[in-house]
Symmetry: C2
Amino acid sequence: MIKVGIVGYGNLGRGVEANIKNAPDMELVGIFTRREPESIKTESPVFGLDLIYDFKGMIDVLILCGGSRTDIPEQGPMLAEYFNTVDSYDNHAQIPLYFASMDHVAQTNRTVSVIATGWDPGLFSLNRLLGEAILPKGNTYTFWGKGLSQGHGDAVRRIEGVKDAVQYTIPNEELINKINIGEEVVYDSHTAHTREVYAVLEEGADAATIENEIVTMPDYFEGYQTRVHFISEEELAANHQGLPHGGHVIRSGYTSENNHQLYDFKLQLGSNPEFTAAVNVAYARAAARLAKEGVRGAKTVFDIAPAYLSPYDADELRERLL
Amino acid sequence: MIKVGIVGYGNLGRGVEANIKNAPDMELVGIFTRREPESIKTESPVFGLDLIYDFKGMIDVLILCGGSRTDIPEQGPMLAEYFNTVDSYDNHAQIPLYFASMDHVAQTNRTVSVIATGWDPGLFSLNRLLGEAILPKGNTYTFWGKGLSQGHGDAVRRIEGVKDAVQYTIPNEELINKINIGEEVVYDSHTAHTREVYAVLEEGADAATIENEIVTMPDYFEGYQTRVHFISEEELAANHQGLPHGGHVIRSGYTSENNHQLYDFKLQLGSNPEFTAAVNVAYARAAARLAKEGVRGAKTVFDIAPAYLSPYDADELRERLL
């Protein structure tokens, strides 16, 4: 059995806990938290994060479930000194720097750190690479949604007069249909996605004023096609509590002048954090196995042969899935 | 530059030739054929297959473009003794045996042989593995089409009174829609696909008799929903000369009781052989690079880290695609 530790117990940490139960070859050693361990409601063992170094040698791989803004950049290099790690660091612009820092620590301390797994970065990145490598003459399009965008929901909730709100990002299906038939399209973030807001007003707030404030908000909504729906608190509670997400990576290319080839990878996720966690868990298996083989350093989804993600052996995989 | 040789010059070999032109890091050393080299119409260098051993050391990887029934099982082990090879061997049931035979030759002779690339086996296999590894609680569904099925077209053409014919395999969209929303479905080859035949009759042939002969043909059409269209020779020539194909690999799973997650990989190919060739060429790059690193033996798409398929270096891939 592969012994796993979870660092951080928000939505993602809970998702990892759930997914480890689905893995036939893994056991959860413990959840490590900065909060009071007693305050965490779970049947799994919970420990204070300060005790984690006592578990050196008893954990094959740690899955880091903190935030990408401050937790992971700090915890990653500290923990990679003692453990193999997997994370879903998702600050795209900072990935090269984060990779360099993790690679240095992991090479020095002879550990394996798989960084930036999940679905974007992660499976979407993998498909961007495959699509481009197979169809070098073509274009890659990434569409997100339909899915809940946390940052945009936060922005709407900060508007005076808004009691609560959620925001869904929705891919432009008309554009996708054009890509599907091989048309070249103008793709930018403003034309590729529309935004749908469901907001609950405070008593006495003026709907027209708030709608205008939303759709003209710079950086978040300005330039996008945005639809605002005002709904009751009850409706928000009943229909908008999930964390759905997903999207497409499409490679549209030509192998010769007249032959259009379409490569389309799509995810439609009932729970974004649980699916991200499912990918983390599969890459945790890979990290533990690579470490056992003596591999060292930071790795990404680009560096790991797919067979490492499966609990089944190579003979069975060839016979059953090839 | 990676130096490539092509063995066999049918649809697939021509596809490989076209795709090598799209690769920035490859050059075609020659096409090797059992036919008279002078009879091959191409601007690329053509040699008799019997001369291939003179090219040892001058070719980094051979792409084997013969048929899976007799060519590849014979040529694969012979050529892997002297060259790194890539093939799209597609006899699913015989893959374990073929792998063993190629692995033995390649290990003994210190070459690399990537077998069974293409899209099924190949990219579809890769997605069956990834979907299952990430969502262990779920079901995998493979749908083929809309696409031209060569074997079924041949079977119809053998019927007396049929002058010419093509057959398209079409996935059952109703079933796919049910899978998309997380329903469990009964999936078998008869319910998952329908068959569409376009046939040209010989003069005086009876349409009703032939239609009945088609739809009741054991193994090929019996048990399937089959639609037969009788068309003119001109219409067949105008609208049915392409070699389109494609399909889906869908993994429908649950990460926890209520959270349905859908993983969907789709190909929509204007030319089946040219796309298969495009995948061969990307794996040829991987084979040449693995061999240079000292790796030996037979490999499949499961064993190769995605970065090996791309001509770009790891830093650039992380920065641009992760």
